[in-house]
């Protein structure tokens, strides 16, 4: 055996040299591709601009018909008829109450789940429970809506006779269940990234796991945990189908969670489903509500990002 460089008929070097002309073509590709990819990447920016622009322009039209101040302080929402009134407060109370109920479920259960998974659970149990949470997180919200409307509400009504067939309590609770996985996994991430040395140090001093959790782990992971709460709130504010199905469309300004209330998202669904004619105030109100919703969730997301960025700097 030996190198047969000279005996072989083919000479790769020459062939490559010959193909160099197509290399020029290659270098054109090479120059053009980054711009094409930049163009593709710009689509996400254009999407954001598109969202902001459409919401903003129609919202401005809305505020020409309904004064800004009236809209945000109005307690009456009667979008149809001759004496139509556009006050967003009924929708805001619906949104805020459902979010509060959801968060009241999701935060304690989610956080306790996170503590259990991160500090107490055996590896086996973790391997079993984490996929369960993933499955819960992957169930479409429409399914939760069905669950709230056909199961949770009737169940609650057997305890609370005053509960209306559509009400804000039941979808709030179910929304809370839906968000548990999110709070749990984000909080758990924050807690497991606390260095083990801190844990061991405290345990070695004779502290129980509970004490370690509350005195060491939670304080160290607090920003990550709070970020997960904020994201959960944002999710609840933006959730649509559960409340649309299970809370009905009552637009009265009320704080009674046993009654039907409409959220901002459910209002959007109702108005678009009704095929509001373009150009009417009703049609524009859709955008004003959506704009409000968008700003709410955006602010929440920015806060969460800010908190978790600070959190990352800590280690």
């Amino acid at each position: 055996m030996g190198l047969k460089n000279n005996k072989e008929k083919i000479n790769v070097r020459d062939m490559i040299e010959k193909n160099k002309n197509s290399f020029n073509l290659n270098s054109v590709t090479e120059k053009v591709i980054p711009y094409i990819l930049l163009g593709i990447a710009a689509v996400s920016i254009i999407t954001t601009i598109g969202i902001v622009f459409t919401l903003l322009s129609e919202t401005i039209s809305f505020f020409q018909a309904v004064p800004f101040w009236d809209f945000y302080t109005g307690t009456e929402l009667k979008p149809l008829g001759d004496d139509a009134k556009f006050g967003i407060l009924p929708l805001l109370t619906g949104t805020i109450l459902s979010t509060l109920i959801a968060v009241a479920v999701a935060i304690p259960i989610g956080l306790m789940t996170a503590i259990f998974l991160s500090e107490y659970a055996s590896e086996q149990l973790r391997k079993f429970l984490k996929p369960i949470l993933e499955i819960l997180a992957g169930i479409p919200t429409i399914v939760y809506g069905f669950f709230a409307f056909t199961f949770v509400t009737p169940l609650l009504r057997s305890f609370i006779p005053a509960l209306d067939p559509t009400n804000i309590l039941s979808p709030g609770l179910v929304m809370g269940i839906m968000i548990i996985p999110m709070v749990a996994s984000l909080s758990e991430d924050a807690m497991s990234s606390v260095p083990n040395s801190m844990r061991e140090g405290a345990l070695a001093l004779g502290a129980t796991k509970l004490e370690v959790t509350f005195k060491v782990i939670l304080p160290a992971a607090i920003s990550g945990i709070i970020a997960s709460f904020v994201l959960a709130i944002s999710r609840a504010i933006g959730e649509t189908m559960i409340v649309t199905i299970a809370s009905g469309s009552n637009k009265a300004f009320s704080f009674n969670i046993t009654e039907s209330m409409q959220t901002m998202t459910a209002y959007i669904v109702e108005v678009t489903g009704g095929e509001a004619a373009a150009g009417t105030t009703l049609y524009y109100s859709l955008y004003a509500v959506a704009m409000t919703l968008f700003v709410f969730t955006l602010v929440m997301n920015l806060i969460a990002q800010y908190i978790s960025r600070k959190f990352r700097e800590e280690y």
């Binding site: 930049l38 593709i40 996400s44 920016i45 999407t47 304690p108 409307f149 933006g238 649309t244 968008f294």
Partner: protein, 294 residues
Amino acid sequence: MKYIDVEQVNKNMSPRIFKNNLAKSIFFVAAIFGLLVLITLIYRVFSDSIGWIDINFLMSKLSTDAERAGIFGAIMGTVWLMVVVAPVTIFLGVGTAIYLEEYAKKGRVRNIIQTNISNLAGVPSVVFGILGLTVFVRAMGLGNIILAGGLTMALLILPIVVVASQEAIRAVPQFLREASYGMGATKWQTIKNIVLPAAIPGISTGVILSLSRAIGETAPLVVIGIPALIIPIPDSVFDKFTIMPMQIYYWTIDSALVDEYANLAAATIVILLIILFLMNSIAIIIRNKFQKRF
């Protein structure tokens, strides 16, 4: 002389241990709460659907008569919707990820796009619906057809696909890129021939998971205005359509009027969950099969 009063410590000890154990039990209950809900939900949906799922249900068109109603149109609608969503979202998502990971490494443009994507991921889906309604359905005059719904959905899941693809691309070891550059390959040749093939398992996992999100998503399509009427089975992307979640929605709210509609909704949910379960299983199989190859 005793520095530590052992008795005192022991006395404090037992309540502390008791508290710890009590807390552990409470945390445990919280952790399996999700499981309990899942079981209840699945039991509920399955028991409601018993007797309603058969070949007729899968192969029949919609009908106001609960006994004759089927979801063939909704299944075909979902399939057609994916025909639009999958290619658009793969093209945009993977392209964006390549740009961010391979070309825009560190820099202002990258920061802007990256921040934008994480904010986009937090925008409520109903707002995407409004975007779709305003731009695709009305401004572009497409109407509430599959193409308009698909483009809206594609934008909605774009952030998820981008992030998953970025992770997959980042996981391709640098030494493979070096080996390719070392052969005189250009950057694009390296990406096309080495990076992307190696990242495909990760990318497909992400794409499948986000498509399954799109399949279950309802709000944007309600906003776009999917008709509640009985419509013909679609056979192109320019047709009007309905999808499984929409049927669930209509049947659920109308179950207040006709009891059987709740069963139809449950039966549709079962089919939807089975489809999602299959998609997720495929994603997990791909992920496990290709983990740690280098």
